[in-house]
Symmetry: C2
Subunit: 343 residues, 2 copies
């Protein structure tokens, strides 16, 4: 047993020698750009500079590994959120699936409009309509049942414009940032206004982020025994709204450390970036600006970009970023590719 | 730069070769008992057997590393909770420190009795008195300020009977379990009825458990700018009670996976153990029974042990453990040492 174990360790050791030799070869070194989908420029450089500063031993900005916490908004920061956030498509499909059990929905808003395919009218009811929609489609089942419903849906659900699966509409340059930070000892967390249990079933596969590193909005759950089995039942009651000032609260609740890097794209992320910047030592804040109508969507309303109502990069946020030295990424200019499926 | 990196990797590789050689030596193998403070017996064996089953590749019970989640209650499971839980001593010291700013406390319960040193009368008010005490002593400041208050206190605060620091009154056998599981790819979480922000400032140092792996009871916090700085202010309002049925809820909220191993010592942990056992595949549940008046405390009230009111190993829990095959640890019989400071 011991000897077998020893042989394994020696094999691993030889692998390391081999990797070490590779890493030392100049030919190999040229291919080591950690952010190949980023154009050279100030945005890319700001990321690389920050990572070097906090990871160089002896540097005055050096940060020990356990404190290398990075937080990422999801919708519009890691994946496409237009024409409406993905979770809303999920809710719509749930309404269709559940409609036979709810004949009253034929005349009851927001369901009636949704069932006719009229999303705009359905959402005219604002937050109240949205909350009602979420409660009707996301609750009543156990957490295990809900996880399976999400998994089944996300595996096949497709974007209405591109026909690609939503999980293939993640931003390749941001996936590279996630991998780059991880390779440099960072622990990446998602901190999203989206539902925590809507994200967890697929974030590990898609982003390499395990469930315990996902923070999001949530509903209340209740422990009970069903048919002699211990389950958590999802209740139609909001537990936590992980948006705006809620994001630092969620970060503190789940992580218990102040992040040293934060990535977002909207006014919902402003407080998260402020909170991150408010710590001592080196910090990094980045906002993605959606200014690429050809490859993705163009919306602001900052810098004369269209105001899509669900959009959120306001002129005030733009000013704020400038004043506080936050990196603003132009998808159009800073990204070589937006999606992995592009040639 | 590259060459330096290569040299480092080769150095690491050589270290592996050396460790591999060591692991292969039979003399070394004898010293590898992962749980040296445990007496040989069914309890110790059940832990070792479980770890072997879930970590042996090819075994039908094999569990991939990311799913190796273990949860630990804190008070009475990882450290001493008698004669009253440590956090209560903290609250008492806070009352004394804050008393000059609160002349009304001289006549107002539970503060009046506390200031006279009469804890029993103070706590006669039950949960209501306890909640009032917590709110008066744990809120109003920022999270950063509170963290510093806890750090300052925990560094020196001592147990009234042993005169040892509370952080030295952790159970040596349980520290070994934490290390053993960690060495086998487990991620250990604390899931305690105690305050999440009371534990986080010291769990990494004491248990090797980082803040993001601590789940506990909490109060609400609010993001705001104070003197131009982004802070979270602690509000006098309960956010979450992480006890009994709350523990599975807290586990789901923070971890998002069902644990495969759970460790507790009281009725407050029953649902956590049930929830853990309710998953498919190999599971492990353990309860610590405090039956060692000489080295620690003896309380139940199961098995004729004294009923200390704040104690919690009831006869019903004992029955439950037996029926469901949970390991019950007798501190007296199963532990060679209770505390590290013992000879």
């Amino acid at each position: 047993m011991r000897t077998k174990y020893a042989r394994k360790l020696i094999a691993v050791a030889l692998l390391f020698v081999w990797i070490g030799a590779l890493a030392g070869s100049p030919a190999q070194a040229q291919t080591m750009d950690p952010l190949p989908s980023w154009n050279e420029g100030a945005a890319k450089q700001s990321i690389v500079d920050f990572v070097k500063r906090v990871t160089t031993p002896g540097s005055k900005d050096f940060v020990p590994v356990p404190e290398r916490i990075a937080v990422f908004d999801n919708d519009g920061t890691l994946w496409c959120e237009q024409p409406v956030p993905v979770q809303l498509y999920f809710a719509l499909d749930r309404v269709k699936a559940l409609a036979p059990q709810h004949p009253e929905w034929k005349t009851q808003e927001p369901f009636a409009s949704l069932l006719k395919g009229d999303v705009q009218t359905a959402l005219a009811g604002g937050d109240h309509a949205l909350l009602e929609l979420i409660m009707a489609t996301h609750t009543g089942m156990t957490t295990v049942e809900f996880e399976q419903i999400v998994k089944d849906w996300i595996g096949t659900a497709k974007h209405p414009k591109t026909g690609k699966r939503f999980i293939d509409m993640t931003y390749q340059p941001m996936l590279e940032v996630l991998a780059y930070l991880r390779a440099n000892g960072f622990k990446n967390f998602i901190v999203s206004g989206g539902g925590i249990e809507f994200m967890r079933p697929w974030t590990e596969q898609v982003y390499g982020i395990p469930p315990e590193q996902v923070v999001g909005s949530s509903i209340k759950t209740k422990f009970e025994m069903r048919d002699g089995k211990p389950v958590l039942v999802r209740l139609p009651e909001l537990n936590f709204n992980d948006d705006k000032g809620g994001k630092p609260v969620g970060i503190n609740q789940h992580i218990g450390r102040r992040p040293i890097a934060a990535f977002g794209n909207s006014v919902g992320d402003q407080q998260m970036l402020e909170y991150t910047q408010g710590g001592s030592g080196a910090r990094f804040e980045l906002l993605v600006l959606h200014d690429d109508a050809a490859r993705e969507y163009a919306y602001g309303p900052a810098r004369g970009l269209p105001d899509v109502k669900l959009g959120f990069f306001t002129p005030a946020l733009d000013e704020h970023a400038k004043k506080d030295g936050w990196t603003v990424v132009s998808m159009k200019n800073d990204w070589k590719r937006v999606f992995a499926f592009e040639k």
